[in-house]
């Protein structure tokens, strides 16, 4: 393999490793923009992964698997919404409960599928562009979910920054009282944002169990849901920066695999700590600037809203 081919392979793998993070972080970003902190990303991802795998394995249809993952993520998000939005429960506690519940339930549901195998989503080369040296295999010979993640990201960016509904959603997260006074249904808007977050987390899970490593293992998301939460902070709630952050993390995890593969005598367990340590480091670098966080974080993030009158 030539050096160029190797580089292309590493970069392409980086993109794939970053894609579940792009999807999950994008969903959480929209949720947080509406003023809701959902710490249940890990649980929703695992439910998406297991539901997607079971549906795909049972029907042999990957599209059905993806649909099931979306629905599973949304069902979990609905549970969160009922507790945190309708019943006004503490969002931190509810999110933690969602993560614990999702971990348990996914392990329970997937018990019969641990050894099952699946074809998995295959790459879809874009004719013409895929033959460009370096860029072709990296950008245009990926599976459809990688393309979808980038398209969704741009769409969310446009939606939040340019559309009227995006403005209303941001208003619900910045000043729910003002939005309510203007006649916008804050709770309903937050429900929509939470459900979108659930769908995207479910999709991120499906990417893991149907494309990245087409199989189901207990706890297969391995903390990616939590890394996605950190990514939202890293991106200072700006969608386009999510992409950058997610691919940096993808790069770190691929680097770690490549160091192992290249036969360096470094213990694999210690190398595997890299993505988690990197998460802490970037969080520190971003959070230390208190003013930047305060300027960019949705003002009503994590605060329950109850319409008066």
């Amino acid at each position: 393999m030539s050096e160029l081919d190797l580089l292309a392979a590493v970069l392409a793998a980086t993109l794939r490793a970053g894609t579940p993070l792009v999807l999950a972080a994008l969903g959480e970003l929209v949720t947080e923009k509406s003023g809701v902190l959902n710490l249940g990303v890990e649980g929703m991802m695992l439910m998406g992964a297991v539901a997607g795998f079971i549906a795909a394995a049972a029907s042999g249809d990957l599209a059905l698997g993806i649909a099931a993952a979306l629905l599973a993520g949304m069902a979990m998000a609905l549970l969160f919404g009922v507790l945190a939005l309708t019943l006004q429960a503490n969002q931190v506690a509810t999110g933690l409960a969602l993560s614990i519940f999702g971990t348990g339930l996914s392990a329970f549901l997937g018990r019969g599928y641990v050894d099952a195998t699946l074809g998995g989503v295959t790459p879809l080369a874009i004719p013409g562009l895929a033959q460009v040296p370096l860029l072709g295999p990296v950008l245009f010979d990926q599976d459809i979910l990688v393309y979808a993640s980038v398209i969704l990201l741009v769409a969310v960016h446009r939606f939040l920054a340019r559309s009227r509904f995006g403005l209303v959603l941001r208003a619900a997260g910045e000043s729910p009282d003002a939005a309510h006074a203007l006649g916008y249904p804050v709770i309903r808007i937050r429900y929509c944002a939470v459900m979108f977050g659930g769908a995207m987390s479910g999709l991120a899970g499906a990417y893991l169990s149907l494309a990245y490593t087409p199989m189901w293992t207990e706890n297969m998301s391995a903390g990616r849901g939590w890394i996605a939460l950190a990514l939202v902070v890293f991106a200072t709630w700006k969608p386009l920066r999510v992409l950058l952050g997610a691919y940096i993390f993808g790069g770190v995890s691929i680097l770690q695999l490549n160091i192992q593969g290249a036969g360096f005598a470094f213990p694999p367990d210690l190398l595997a700590t890299l993505p988690y340590l990197a998460t802490i480091v970037v969080l520190v670098l971003i959070s230390r600037d208190v003013r930047r966080i305060r300027l960019n974080a949705p003002a009503a993030l994590g605060k329950p809203f109850r319409p008066q009158t």
């Binding site: 710490l39 549970l79 009922v82 507790l83 309708t86 019943l87 006004q88 429960a89 503490n90 931190v92 506690a93 509810t94 933690l96 409960a97 969602l98 614990i100 519940f101 999702g102 971990t103 348990g104 339930l105 392990a107 329970f108 018990r111 207990e218 391995a222 903390g223 939590w226 890394i227 939460l229 950190a230 902070v233 213990p267 367990d269 210690l270 595997a272 700590t273 988690y276 340590l277 998460t279 802490i280 969080l283 520190v284 959070s287 230390r288 208190v290 966080i293 109850r306 009158t309």
Partner: protein, 361 residues
């Protein structure tokens, strides 16, 4: 339409505050029964296997105590932080580093047979847990970094470090290449208290911690500061209570307790270091803390219930072939129902139209 509405109460409804954990447990049981039924098991048979069989022997009761004690220790430490909204969710990692530190000491003194070894291991465990918890505390107080994410990330790191140690430098040379350390010597193991059970001296530790935490939370000035900081952060700041002090205190205390729990586990029922030393005690302790209303006595009862759920999960795995993950499902449901039931502490359910306009001032 006669949609039920929630109406804010003038003051918190104390009956609901104490009733809702019981209601939540009952609802979780009901849903568990439905789950068993949907899997084709007779709910009564399954319930018997889950909740009655494990505790129908002296040995079983001992197992409850053995499982409840790490949960109780971890949850007591977490409750202090949760009261002032310091969300340490990395007890699992602090449990692990405590076990590494205490277990490391046991391995370092293979012929240590003095009475000093066990107390030194407990101390090492506490320090190990505190060191791990100090990182999120430092990052939060110095760099404004969310302790939720940093403490959780560090849990993954701690588990990987333990895995590295038992696969590498600490692996038992005579262990047929299994990833496990040497067995601890007798001097490094907690002595069994009751013959016929596995209950050991470490089960007494939470009972020393419980009154201490109660004193701290309910009868000390620090406890008052914690309460104010949790209920009204602005008032706490105005009164001059230092938030950074409370963050450090909660995390260090939580870390120390979780670390000691880790030592209890490896120097108790396990007796060596393994890659998996905890069936999620650190995470389950979060549920225990909430279920116990962040009150030491409540946490005692909640830890017993949670221990029973763990045991029940193992029991139905053996007798009915159900997966161990059933316990995780139960734990999650319990917390959901608790959070849902808590709504009645602050709100009342009203049917019919127009009441809001009539009753709100």
């Amino acid at each position: 339409m006669m949609l039920p509405r929630l109406e804010q109460r003038a003051e918190a409804f104390w009956v609901a505050r104490y009733l809702s954990p019981f209601l939540a447990a009952a609802l979780a049981l009901l849903c568990g029964g439905l789950l068993f039924a949907s899997l084709g098991y007779d709910p009564l048979v399954a319930f018997h296997a889950f909740f009655i069989k494990p505790v129908s022997s002296l040995y079983g009761l001992g197992e409850v105590a053995l499982k409840a004690s790490p949960l109780l220790l971890c949850a007591l430490g977490l409750a202090v932080g949760f009261r002032c909204k310091v969300w340490n969710i990395g007890a699992e990692g602090q449990f692990t580093t405590g076990a590494i530190a205490g277990g490391g000491l046991a391995l370092a003194f293979p012929h240590g047979n003095g009475l000093w070894l066990l107390p030194a291991m407990i101390l090492a465990g506490a320090l190990g847990g505190m060191a791990w918890a100090a990182i999120p505390a430092f990052l939060r107080t110095r760099f404004n970094t969310s302790e939720i994410l940093s403490s959780l990330m560090l849990s993954y790191v701690a588990l990987l470090v333990l895995s590295y140690l038992v696969h590498g430098p600490w692996r038992d040379p005579a262990g047929f290449n299994f990833p496990q350390s040497r067995q601890f010597e007798d001097a490094a193991l907690f002595p069994i208290l009751f013959a016929g059970t596995r209950v050991n001296l470490s089960c007494a530790l939470p009972f020393a911690a419980l009154p201490a935490v109660w004193m701290l939370l309910e009868r000390s000035f620090i406890g008052f500061q914690i309460k104010v900081a949790g209920l009204a952060p602005a008032a706490a700041a105005y009164a001059g209570f230092k938030e950074t002090h409370l963050v450090w205190l909660s995390l260090l205390l939580g870390g120390a307790f979780a670390g000691i729990a880790g030592v209890d586990e490896v120097a108790g029922p396990i007796g060596q270091l393994l890659p998996n030393i905890s069936p999620g005690y650190g995470f389950a302790a979060i549920i225990v803390a909430f279920l116990g209303r962040l009150h030491p006595l409540g946490i005692l009862f909640a830890s017993l219930l949670m221990a029973l759920i763990y045991l029940g999960g193992e029991s139905v795995q053996v007798s009915l072939g159900l997966p161990l993950a059933v316990a995780g499902v139960f734990q999650g449901m319990l917390l959901f129902f608790l959070l849902g039931c808590d709504v009645f502490v602050r709100y009342r359910l009203r049917f019919g139209p127009g009441a809001a306009a009539a009753s709100s001032p």
